[in-house]
């Protein structure tokens, strides 16, 4: 079971603003999803190695060689820019 305070915490961490109605809805919905996952705990996994990844591929690396990308394409794609900088809302301290 997930309680409302946990929903509020997760929403805060994800920077989501929820209305009281939404908080109630998500508390119920997330709880039922988590309860469903709880079914997995019925399995005995004592001798099963923990899975860290879904795909069994290791050691994918690339050569350390430059391929510059045209920066204007990226700067232009940003919501706001100032000259060669990206422009973002000022960060309020305390968080």
């Amino acid at each position: 079971m997930l309680d409302r305070a946990q929903v509020q915490k997760v929403a805060h961490l994800a920077r989501l603003q929820l209305t009281p109605d939404e908080e109630a809805t998500f508390t119920t919905q997330l709880s039922s999803i988590l309860d469903y996952f709880e079914l997995l705990s019925e399995l005995d996994v004592t001798d099963v190695k923990p899975t860290t990844r879904a795909i069994e591929v290791s050691n994918v690396v690339r050569v350390d060689r430059q391929h510059p990308f045209p920066r204007e394409d990226i700067l232009d794609g940003a919501p706001d820019r100032e000259g060669e900088f990206f422009r973002v809302p000022k960060i309020v301290t305390g968080d």
Binding site: V57, S58, R62, D64, P68
Partner: protein, 494 residues
């Protein structure tokens, strides 16, 4: 009536360091734009480091190699299975809203660094500092707070993402450090090792080496740790030492006056030489780490690991005791010579060419270092080869020239190179060790300076130096100084 003063409580500090080293690769950790430092904003950016949807990060093989070598050099075990994770937080210097880092399966763990300090008698005091882990991660971009220089209360900031995605290794020490001096020494040793490996330039001013300090104090004898405070923003080893010393005093004063130590991050202020509170620390669970689905796991094959291990150079903590044992150098000399790999290798090349080790050490630490400092040059940029230095020490050892003549011909050797033997031959600088020739010079000097002779014999014996100087002048500096002194004293006192 006397009252016994209450015994003053003794405290000890428990200190651990988190060190971030930028790796000297050509490109970023997961994308192929340049990782080099530049002041031109947003020139080294690409869709991957900018977190565009649908892109696929791929690990730079040099980053893996450098991280493994750094782990080996810090005496770590290299993980048989390692992976990357996402660390979530919101800040505009982080375009993806998560940093790709390593959480529970770092590439290297359980290592140690040996620090060496010298006691009052210059004897080495060695201590092993545990290395909890070393992991790979990406750096964040840089915020330029346009508002502060412009209108106060500006509503926006500017961001430069050149540094976003630059490869880092984070090295976490065990809380084994007990003083500011130990912490500064540890950080210096880590930098020395990274530089020996050639994996990081370790430049603190440019931010390629950054240290965060975790520190708490407790009364000696108490088992539980005190509340831990993190300090950031030190940009020199000296600042690390002073910040820690200040913070130890601050925490002890707070405890003694009954205040509670807050678990928080504090910033070192260089100007006021104190730490100031930045923010109350959030618990690490708030980062909600989870495995990075876009990157495969890392399982370094054993032949690859052996190959990288075989490429490690001899490290400073291996050289120091060897210099003492093999070359009879003091702990101090060994420390100075091994601080820089190029200097150490130059010294070793000179010794391999049969230089007298103590003499070679003195030349390198004295006149040659002074020249390098004055000219802002490195040992690789001078014309005096290690072989020529060996020749120079041999000339002095064989009494062919005096140390003084050696110093006289050094500038030419440093700037133009060549062979000391040839210069001595060309300039006719061979030392005069024939007592007859020196006596002749002495007699000429005495005859030419009757007044000084009279004063000397009248008790002004300090004039011996004057006579020595005159004899040297007479012989073009070539008279054997020891013999000159002896013979002069004899003549003057006759």
């Amino acid at each position: 009536m006397t009252t016994a003063a209450p015994a003053k409580t003794q405290y000890e500090a428990i200190i651990g360091l988190e060190t971030h080293c930028q790796l000297s690769t050509e490109t970023k950790i997961f994308s192929d734009s340049s990782a080099k430092f530049t002041t031109e904003p947003n020139t080294h950016i690409d869709p991957i480091c900018m977190g565009m949807p649908g892109v696929l990060p791929v690990l730079n093989q040099k980053v893996l190699e450098y991280a493994v070598k750094a782990g080996l050099a810090l005496n770590c075990q290299i993980a048989p299975y390692s992976k990357f994770d996402r660390k979530q937080y919101f800040y505009p210097d982080l375009p993806k809203n998560y940093q790709i880092s390593q959480f529970d399966l770092p590439i290297a763990e359980h290592g140690w660094v040996e620090i060496e300090m010298l006691d009052a008698e210059n004897n080495p005091v060695r201590k092993r500092i545990g290395v909890t882990r070393l992991h790979m991660e990406e750096d964040a971009g840089k915020l330029v707070h346009g508002g502060s220089e412009r209108l106060s209360g500006s509503t926006y900031s500017l961001v430069d993402y050149n540094r976003a995605g630059v490869p880092l290794v984070e090295i976490v020490s065990e809380p084994d450090l007990r003083s500011g001096q130990e912490a500064a020494e540890y950080a210096q040793e880590v930098r020395r090792i990274m530089r020996y490996l050639g994996v990081s330039d370790g430049n603190m001013q440019e931010g390629s080496l950054r240290c965060d300090v975790n520190i708490s104090v407790r009364p000696i004898g108490q088992k539980e740790f005190g509340t831990k405070v993190e300090i950031k923003n030190m940009n020199s080893f000296n600042a690390i030492q002073r910040a820690i010393e200040h913070e130890i005093e601050r925490q002890i004063a707070a405890i003694e006056s009954g205040e509670r130590i807050l678990q928080e991050t504090r910033l070192w202020e260089e100007g006021s030489q104190r730490t100031i509170s930045m923010r109350i620390k959030e618990g690490s669970s708030d980062y909600r780490y989870f495995p990075e689905p876009d990157l495969g796991a890392i399982e370094v094959p054993s032949d690859q690991l052996d190959h990288w291990r075989s490429e490690l150079p001899e490290l400073p903590y291996q050289k120091r005791p060897r210099y003492e044992t093999n070359f009879g150098l003091s702990a101090y000399d060994a420390r100075v010579l091994t601080d820089d790999r190029d200097i150490a290798e130059y010294f070793e090349a000179a010794v391999a060419a049969k230089a007298n080790p103590k003499q070679a050490a003195n030349w390198i630490m004295g006149d040659i270092s002074a020249y390098l400092n004055n000219e802002r040059k490195t040992i690789k940029e001078i014309s005096l080869t290690a072989i020529a230095l060996a020749e120079l020490t041999a000339l002095i050892d064989a009494n062919t020239i005096s140390n003084k003549i050696g110093k006289d011909i050094l500038p030419e050797l440093l700037t133009q190179g060549g062979s000391p033997n040839a210069i001595v031959e060309r300039e006719g600088l061979v030392q005069i060790s024939d007592s007859g020739a020196i006596e002749m010079a002495i007699e000429a000097v005495i005859a030419a300076n009757p007044k000084e002779l009279e004063q000397y014999r009248g008790g002004k014996t300090k004039l011996l130096g004057f006579f020595v100087g005159q004899v040297m002048k007479q012989t073009g500096g070539r008279a054997d100084p020891k013999m000159t002194n002896q013979l002069l004293a004899k003549k003057l006192n006759a």
